[in-house]
């Protein structure tokens, strides 16, 4: 037996053990904790305009933003609860588009959550009480992935149907590509 074989294989085994430790990307939470939407005193502000000195707004709450499983659950629920009936695949139709940068009622996770729960004038139904709160947060995370606001590693990598728009991850990649291309120093050289 060659010298160094045993230390070498031990090192290889240790390396494999290290690699396998990295296999679990994230935890899947099936039993969600009780609702997270307990009202705080701070308002959810839809505008930056405030009289006098600015007070903070109630923000945050997007605890699923980096969770690929929750975002893909949100994607499934977006179809199940017929969000696509008005907003289509995010491009909008009867309801406003969700994949652009314009947010009528705010684009933070808390804003989107409240829009779903409370409803909005001129057509957006109020889903509070009809959709469990953790599912609203999952849909929120998915809606934000439509406009490329969640990490690329968490955005959905494929769609469940053969037809349909490209996946959110693909769109995110493309969006980054667009940004790169618009920077002058990264402009493509002919040839």
């Amino acid at each position: 037996m060659r010298r160094g074989f045993i230390p070498g294989s031990c090192a290889l085994l240790a390396l494999l053990a290290l690699i396998s430790a990295a296999c679990e990307r994230e935890e899947r939470q099936f039993r969600e904790l009780p609702p997270m939407s307990g009202r705080q005193n701070l308002p959810v502000r839809l505008t930056d305009l405030q009289p006098g000195q600015a007070l903070p707004s109630r923000i945050g709450g997007g605890r699923y933003e980096g969770n690929a499983f929750a975002i893909s659950e949100g994607k499934r629920l977006y179809q199940w609860y017929n969000c696509s009936g008005c907003h289509f695949q995010g491009g909008g139709g009867i309801g406003p588009p969700l994949m652009d940068e314009l947010w009528i009622y705010g684009g933070s996770p808390r804003n989107i959550h409240d829009t779903i729960v409370e409803g909005r004038p001129n057509g957006m139904p109020s889903f509070g009480g009809h959709v469990p709160d953790d599912q609203v947060w999952k849909i929120t995370a998915y809606v934000r992935s439509l406009s490329e606001q969640v990490p690329k590693s968490a955005a959905s990598g494929r769609s469940d149907h053969l037809q349909g728009p490209p996946s959110e991850q693909y769109r995110k990649l493309n969006a980054e590509g667009r940004k790169l291309e618009t920077q002058p120093q990264k402009a493509r050289q002919p040839g």
Binding site: R31, R76, W80, G129, H130, D134, D160
Partner: protein, 335 residues
Amino acid sequence: MPAMSAMSAILIPDWVGRHSAIASAGPQAGRIEGLWWLMFWVSTAVFVAVMVALGGAMARRPRILGDSEPPHALTPEERGRMNRLVGGAVAVTVVILFVLLVASVGTGRAIASLSAPHAPIVKVTGHQWWWQVEYVDAVPGRSLTTANEIHIPVGRPVLFRLQATDVIHSFWVPNLHGKRDMIPGHDNEIWIQADRPGVYRGQCAEFCGFQHAHMGLLVIAEPPAQYEAWYKSQLQPAATPVTARQERGRQLVQSLPCALCHNVQGSQASGKTGPDLTHLASRRTIAAGTLPNTRGNLAGWILDPQTVKPGNHMPANTMASDDLQALLDYLEILK
């Protein structure tokens, strides 16, 4: 002992144990069972023969390994005997394998030949992790939707159209037939006939995610008259509440998250993504063959389905105790 058997009759539902490919209840399953026993006895005979030969070889002290004698080359007679033995064993093996091949192909042909005009058509769609069951009739008013429990008439071929919406599942009722995959975007068909009335358990036979093991179904084969009566009762809209509590239960089904996924024919609950609840109380199990359909199981399932079947698509529901009792009162009348 009678007391004990009565106890077991109460505690153990009648479909437990009715899940076996070697207790066939139909012509195709009978063919498969025949092939199974042929292979079993042939394999047993081969195993016994090999063991006897091995034992004989071990019992005979090989001369070439004698302590005093040096090893010697085989004599021409010894070589000839060995060649004949090995050649004979190879020939027997080829013949056995050929017989099994012919039997297997014959069985495949025989079980694929069942069909009949005007047979009932049952469309079964695999979902994570339950079965949607639709009886398709040329008259729209005679089509119906149910879940996880399929009734079929005895002695008559029934055509199953198999589909899936999310991932690949496989439809397998071992007492009645072999497996058939359910593939998204590709319809499969399988003909099934039950000759003996009974309740037969089925199971998803293609790994389909967390709760693949808890994706069961029941096939209930009944005499034609009984089947027709069942069919007629399933065509009816949901039962109307009588008491105030039942009425309150209906309001809850319509207003709580239930209505977003579940359908109760004749009410405002018209979701299409979860199992149809119109005749929930007529079914023997809940959660796709996971639990017997009792009031207690139903209550536990509604409040905390993620403990019973982690990962399934039904969310936990929090509600006041009074509301839960009213909801159960209503669900129990949905015969």
